[in-house]
């Protein structure tokens, strides 16, 4: 190795400059905080939070620590992001394909949807869905039952809770089915490559995922029953449903607006991806005798996905970061619970904001890494 100053000089200077700038900021913050009598430290994380949160995936109340409150906020952020990403992807793919439909009505309707929803600021859409929903939804006592067991009201969506017996057996059967499917897929690919025979993998997969859990019911002793929500009177005109599972309207409104908004961008990515595959490719594939399904699966999609995945990753990141607008409508996400209430109760602004920033950074990088891995996996290997 033979380093020349000419080569490493600029890099060295950049590193020194970055260190100096950060050092200056840290020093400056320290001096100012000392002058104003603010201590710095993360010790507060183990203190009792003494505030409650509306909606939590893990057990939590005010007697738990601030760190637990942080986890509650983080999990809620992840929950709404995952729901949003799934819904946005499904809707985005459908609308993207619809935009290429030869049917005039479907085509124009999809175009209208995209142009309408992507051109209105997201915060306004969140307010619209939340307050429009609150105005439109019935009070609990006026709600009509959906399928006789679920109730969509101003206080949220109340659905029956599953009461399991021997849940672990059911769970293992599902896991076993998934493992079996993966093994069969790998085998099928090998057979295809070595002998050129096609195995009906999809049919076998569907069969496995249905039959194994079904067997767990029949011979594994798994029992499933439902706890249906029941109306309870709190006062003359105020009611609530008890029992079952309740989803707060804040979560529903946020997931809905995030996915409706992001789906427009994903739809455009999908359209671009499909249109990016040359017409000659499809015609060539058809001419060697592939069925239309095989053309789509073996020729069009592998090439389209290469175009679709990278910009869609951006949309997933955007959706996750946009979920921080939750604070406006009282959905207890990371920003509301941790960078909101916890910050104000402790006054530890620098610590909490830095943790929150680092958390969003980690979330985004995780999604990004996952999508890059998927992108590399489906990329066409150049030979």
């Amino acid at each position: 190795m033979n380093f020349k100053l000419k080569d490493i000089g600029p890099q060295l200077m950049t590193v020194i400059a970055v260190v100096l700038v950060f050092g200056f900021f840290t020093y400056n913050a320290q001096v100012n905080m000392e002058n104003r009598g603010i201590d710095f430290g993360y010790g507060f994380l183990s203190q009792e939070s003494s505030f409650d949160v509306q909606f939590s995936l893990i057990e939590y109340d005010g007697s738990h620590s601030y760190f637990r409150a942080y986890l509650v906020g983080l999990l809620n952020t992840i929950l709404v992001s995952v729901i949003g990403i799934i819904l946005a992807t499904i809707l985005g793919v459908l609308v993207g394909i619809a935009r290429l439909s030869p049917n005039y009505l479907i085509n124009k309707f999809a175009a209208f949807y995209v142009e309408f929803f992507r051109n209105i600021p997201l915060l306004l859409q969140i307010f619209f869905w939340y307050f429009a929903a609150l105005r439109a939804l019935p009070l609990p006592q006026d709600a009509e039952a959906m399928f006789g067991i679920s109730f969509l009201t101003i206080k949220g969506l109340f659905v029956p809770a599953f009461i399991w017996e021997n849940f672990n057996i059911f769970f293992y059967s599902v896991v076993a089915a998934i493992i079996a499917i993966v093994v069969i897929r790998i085998q099928a690919k090998k057979i295809q490559e070595t002998q050129g025979k096609q195995t009906p993998v999809l049919l076998i997969s569907i069969g496995l995922i249905l039959i194994l859990p079904l067997l767990s019911f029949l011979i594994g002793g798994v029992r499933l029953s439902f706890e249906v929500p029941v109306l309870k009177q709190l006062a003359t005109t105020s009611f609530i449903y008890e029992g079952g599972v309740s989803l707060p309207p804040e979560l529903i409104a946020l997931a809905l607006s995030l996915s409706l908004y992001t789906a427009t961008f994903i739809a455009e990515c999908v359209r671009a991806g499909i249109q990016g595959v040359g017409k000659g490719q499809k015609e060539a594939a058809a001419s060697i005798g592939l069925t239309p399904n095989q053309v789509l699966k073996l020729v069009v999609m592998p090439q389209a996905l290469r175009i679709i995945i990278p910009p869609t990753t951006n949309q997933y990141l955007n959706l996750t970061k946009n979920s921080s607008l939750a604070a406006a409508i009282a959905y207890p996400d990371l920003v509301l619970v941790f960078a909101g209430t916890a910050l104000m109760q402790t006054g530890k602004a620098i610590e909490i904001v830095s943790i929150t920033m680092f958390t969003y950074l980690s979330l985004s990088i995780s999604i990004s890494l996952l999508m890059n891995w998927y992108n590399n996996k489906i990329a066409i290997t150049e030979k």
Binding site: G37, D52, R135, A235, S238, T341
Partner: protein, 346 residues
């Protein structure tokens, strides 16, 4: 001899000038905030984003309210003009950071004085300009007339980042009632959600409830329950570490309250200069050296009373006449059955 006498007098005069100069600027020198305020020509004051009666801006951008009047009083004392205030509307979340980072010099934003806030975050509370307590608002049609009728599963709308969230937990926990807290970042959204029927009750400081009730679609459909579940002494806050500025704000507020006690109003303040009562004369700058310790002139308190008025005038103008809380309750002077009691200006 004559020559020497002349020299001596000039020496004495010089020493005197020097001495007065040092005493006068001593306080100003010690207080960076006072010096900066006088240099800028306006008081930087943090207020709420709109709470009628406390700090609220009209369509033309003029701020009114009892919290606003504290800042105006400081401006009158320090700069001679109650209108030389720059108001910064702050959310509950931003308020302390804005103060500790030096963006504002007084936080007068219906802020509850608590031990942890006073001790922890680099703040100093200077006094109380409104004694409040947390209460509950419900719809009249619900038939609830007391918090004892609350049942498991009740949903309560409120703001985040206030003592309200903590009090609410203490209240429901001590009674063993399970509840659903729905906490919003801004008060307008809390009101909108409660008004739409999202929550069974809306909880915050009672003054806040009374003020927000006026914003509802139909104010008559809602009542504030009689119970008060917490002590909420609201008052102005300053940064830690500038005791002269702290004293100026504290005594500007005290002057307003004491002026009411002695019957000095914005209308009669000038004529009170010739009063027989030395306490009244001190309050209008006609006796004693009440401003020197702050680095202010002697009529700083007279200007407060003349330009802003006494506490009673401020309360009447902002809270009583606007129909928010016509009854002064604990915010009446100690001489009239309330708990407003301030140390004497002397």
């Amino acid at each position: 001899m004559f020559k020497y006498l002349k020299q001596l007098t000039s020496l004495v005069a010089m020493v005197a000038v020097l001495f007065t100069f040092t005493t006068e600027s001593m306080a100003a020198k010690k207080s960076k905030t006072l010096k900066n305020t006088q240099k800028k020509g306006f008081v930087r004051c943090g207020v709420s984003q709109g709470l009628p009666g406390f700090s609220n801006a009209d369509a033309a951008g003029n701020w009114t309210g009892v919290d606003v009047d504290v800042c105006r009083a400081v401006a009158a004392a320090v700069l001679g003009d109650a209108n030389k205030v720059k108001f910064t509307p702050l959310s509950a979340k931003e308020r302390f950071t804005a103060l500790t980072s030096g963006e504002i010099d007084i936080l007068s934003r219906n802020t509850t004085w608590t031990l942890s806030r006073d001790a922890d975050i680099g703040l100093t509370f200077v006094g109380v300009n409104f004694y409040d307590g947390q209460g509950f608002m419900v719809r009249k049609s619900s038939g609830i007339t007391s918090t004892s009728q609350f049942k498991n599963g009740i949903s309560a709308c409120t703001n985040i980042g206030t003592t309200t969230e903590l009090n609410m937990r203490d209240f429901f926990n001590s009674r063993g009632i399970s509840y659903e807290p729905v906490a919003f970042e801004k008060a307008d959204e809390v009101v909108a959600a409660y008004d739409a029927g999202r929550c069974d009750t809306y909880t915050t400081d009672k003054s806040g409830l009374a003020a927000q009730r006026t914003k509802m679609k139909n104010p008559d459909e809602h009542i504030v329950l009689p119970e008060t579940i917490s002590k909420e002494p609201l008052g102005p806050v300053v940064r830690q570490g500038d005791s002269v500025w702290e004293d100026i704000v504290r005594w500007s507020l005290n002057t307003m309250i004491e002026a009411e006690e002695y019957g000095i109003t914005s209308a009669n303040a000038d004529s009170m200069k010739t009063s027989d009562n030395p306490q009244i004369k001190r309050l209008v700058g006609a006796e004693g050296e009440m401003g020197a310790a702050f680095g202010l002139d002697n009529e700083w308190n007279l200007r407060i009373i003349k330009q802003v008025g006494n506490y009673g005038e401020s309360y009447k103008r902002n809270i009583a006449d606007t129909g928010i809380l016509p009854d002064r309750g604990p915010n009446e002077l100690w001489t009239k059955g309330g708990i407003l009691y301030v140390p004497p200006s002397r």
